[in-house]
């Protein structure tokens, strides 16, 4: 399956220590830059907010990539969370933002469990296609059961209150932006630590040797399910944030091209890389919005070609390129520097 060398076993040698600090410095700089966006470039705020929400969902897909599995249906959990939020707001107009987020993520986790129990019996292409099938079933239900789901037009998601206060749109968008940023840093850090933890490491053995996993007294299906639930929950967070930012949820949230887009972004950023998920999402959204503004409606063509170049010449993705640049600059060439985990 996926032979990326992205693992997170920090090396003890000092060379890696040096690289790790530059990497975390760059990450810190990136986060601060993003935090300043509402002040220095307010017109970009909405775009970056959407990219962060999408990045969280891509993080879910990245987790599965680490186990060598590709899901082409993870937009399902993205959509479930969005629609749970919309239905909640429709029935309880005074619901709070935190409640909408939690309800959405809970919905995503539950549907993750239900679908997961079925798909963890499969691997490779079948795993991908079955996830696709489940997302298409949910998509068809959203499209066709008009009187319940609002059909193709979707449902509006009114603005929830924030900690009890009903905010105007600009303030609400600022709160949402910084919430997305905090969730990015928090969940990104958690995912890095999770990857490095025994649970996360065992989850990644699914890619290399399930037989030995069984002979360690563990059920590969249950191990895969644990990662699957985490990835569904992360997609849930992304879906909920996107829904609240957009103010409308449509079956488009669950269309198969969006699931493929998530895998696209994960690999573009660097398959298996946590930072890559967000960097990939930012680049993808920026190209999508600005390419269509300047280069007519060929953003898909541009992004498709960009991905081809990445896959053919830099399979490690953008983070892979960044690593090699940093490695070359510091002369030494540790062979297998995975992403560090403080």
């Amino acid at each position: 399956m996926l032979d990326t060398s992205q693992r997170s076993a920090p090396k003890l040698s000092d060379k890696a220590g040096g690289l790790r600090s530059t990497r975390s410095l760059l990450t810190l700089a990136g986060v601060l830059l993003l935090a300043a966006v509402p002040l220095i470039a307010p017109s970009m705020q909405l775009l970056i907010n959407l990219a962060l929400a999408k990045g969280l969902a891509v993080l879910g897909v990245t987790i599965l990539l680490r186990a060598g599995q590709v899901s082409f249906g993870h937009a399902l959990f993205f959509g479930v969370s969005a629609y749970v939020g919309a239905f909640l707001m429709a029935s309880m107009p005074q619901a709070d933002l935190i409640l909408v987020l939690i309800a959405g993520v809970a919905g995503a986790a539950i549907s993750g469990l239900l679908v997961g129990l079925f798909v963890v019996r499969y691997r490779g292409i079948f795993f991908g296609m079955l996830n696709l099938a489940f997302s298409m079933i949910f998509w068809s239900i959203l499209e066709k059961f008009y009187h319940i789901t609002g059909g193709a037009d979707g449902i509006r998601l009114a603005r929830p209150t924030v900690l009890g206060m009903a905010l105007e749109r600009p303030e609400f968008e600022a709160v949402l932006f910084y919430l997305s940023l905090v969730l990015m840093v928090g969940l990104g850090w958690f995912t890095l630590r999770w990857f490095a933890s025994p649970v996360g490491q065992i989850f990644q053995t699914i890619k290399t040797n399930e037989t030995r996993l069984e002979y360690l007294g563990l059920s590969p299906k249950r191990v895969l399910l644990s990662g699957y639930l985490l990835s569904a929950a992360l997609c849930g967070v992304g879906g909920s944030l996107m829904a609240m930012t957009q103010g409308v949820v449509t079956p488009e949230y669950v269309w198969w091209v969006r699931s493929a887009e998530m895998v696209f972004i994960a690999v573009l950023g660097g398959a298996g890389s946590v930072r890559g998920a967000f960097i990939g999402a930012l680049i993808y959204e920026i190209v999508r919005v600005y390419a269509s503004a300047f280069a007519g409606d060929i953003w898909q063509l541009l992004l498709g070609s960009f991905l081809l170049i990445i896959i053919l010449f830099a399979p490690g993705g953008i983070m892979g390129i960044a690593d090699s640049v940093m490695n070359r600059r510091s002369k030494s060439q540790p062979t297998n520097l995975g992403e560090d985990a403080q």
Binding site: M1, R121, I125, L132, K144, V263, V267, L301, I311, L312
Partner: protein
């Protein structure tokens, strides 16, 4: 659900299944031989349809009779196969056979995105409608319902012809045997002198021609719009996965199952018609995890 309704649903189901099978056939062949699930197959299908409509429109304007629409379909399908299928395999896929499955899938997804935009740049976004081939064959009335001969008779015949034609080709001809050998074990095939690269190129072109032919044959029955590729490819995935990957006969049965399922749903509970193909896929894979005709892969230690 009286008898006439049953038969009507049956006829509609068969003509729809024939079309879905023709498109899924190319996808199954490519996957069977090259282990690559070609997402760009959807774009090849759509471009086959657009090319047919443009060619037919052009020649009809010159005063040719509608019967010429049929050879033009084959020409557009071959054009799609040669001009698009060839370069995709030769320039792109050839470099990634050793790469992991997800990257191969994503290369075909990237090609899909590129072709979707390219198709929009060439043919624009307005719908095309060119039904002269369909009109040329006239109608037939069964049980009070008028069907077009094209949909009810021609398409199923072409589908059956392609099924047995491909089976004969793979099992009886030399090239066919080479393809089967390479499918079985690429290294072994190469070790006895089979030029696997040429076999893969040839297989991919045949697959692309089938995709283009699917689009060409579909063009008179539908209006040609951007996005038709995305709709058809996700349906072909359902057929291919239900059949068991690389199973040509399986694809025929799966296409029939899905075609009939969908058309009966339109008669019984229209809301669910869009849902049925994926429901069938999930149910089949629940019972036979490797698909209807796939063979389970035993893990040796």
């Amino acid at each position: 659900m009286n008898l006439t309704i049953f038969l009507l649903a049956l006829f509609d189901g068969i003509s729809y299944a024939a079309l879905v099978f023709i498109v899924a056939l190319g996808l199954t062949l490519i996957f069977g031989v090259m282990r690559i699930l070609n997402i760009a197959h959807g774009s090849l299908y759509a471009i086959g349809a657009y090319a047919t409509v443009s060619l037919t429109g052009f020649f009809l304007a010159l005063g040719f009779s509608p019967i010429f629409a049929f050879p033009l379909m084959i020409i557009s399908a071959v054009l799609v196969g040669m001009l698009l299928g060839g370069p995709i395999e030769w320039l792109l896929l050839r470099r990634i056979y050793d790469k992991p499955e997800v990257l191969q899938l994503l290369v075909t997804f990237a090609v899909f995105m590129i072709l979707e935009d390219a198709q929009r740049l060439v043919w624009g976004t307005q719908p095309y409608f060119q039904a002269s081939a369909l009109q040329a064959l006239g109608n037939i009335t069964l049980f009070g319902v008028t069907y077009t001969v094209y949909q009810l008779i021609l398409l199923p015949l072409v589908a059956i012809g392609l099924l047995f034609g491909l089976r004969f080709f793979l099992r009886r001809t030399v090239i066919g045997k080479l393809i089967l050998a390479t499918t079985e074990d690429r290294e072994a095939a190469q070790s006895i002198g089979i030029d696997a690269d040429r076999v893969f190129l040839f297989t991919f072109i045949v697959g692309a021609v089938l995709a283009g032919l699917g689009g060409a044959l579909a063009s008179p029955t539908t209006s040609i719009l951007p996005g038709m590729g995305a709709d058809m490819i996700v349906l072909s995935f359902a057929v291919v996965a239900t059949a068991g990957l690389g199973q040509i006969e399986g694809a025929a049965v799966a296409a029939l199952l899905i075609g009939l399922g969908r058309s009966f749903a339109v008669y019984v509970w229209p809301e669910v018609a869009v849902l049925v193909p994926y429901l069938i896929m999930v149910l089949v894979l629940l019972i036979r995890p490797q698909g209807l005709f796939g063979s389970p892969v035993a893990r040796k230690i």
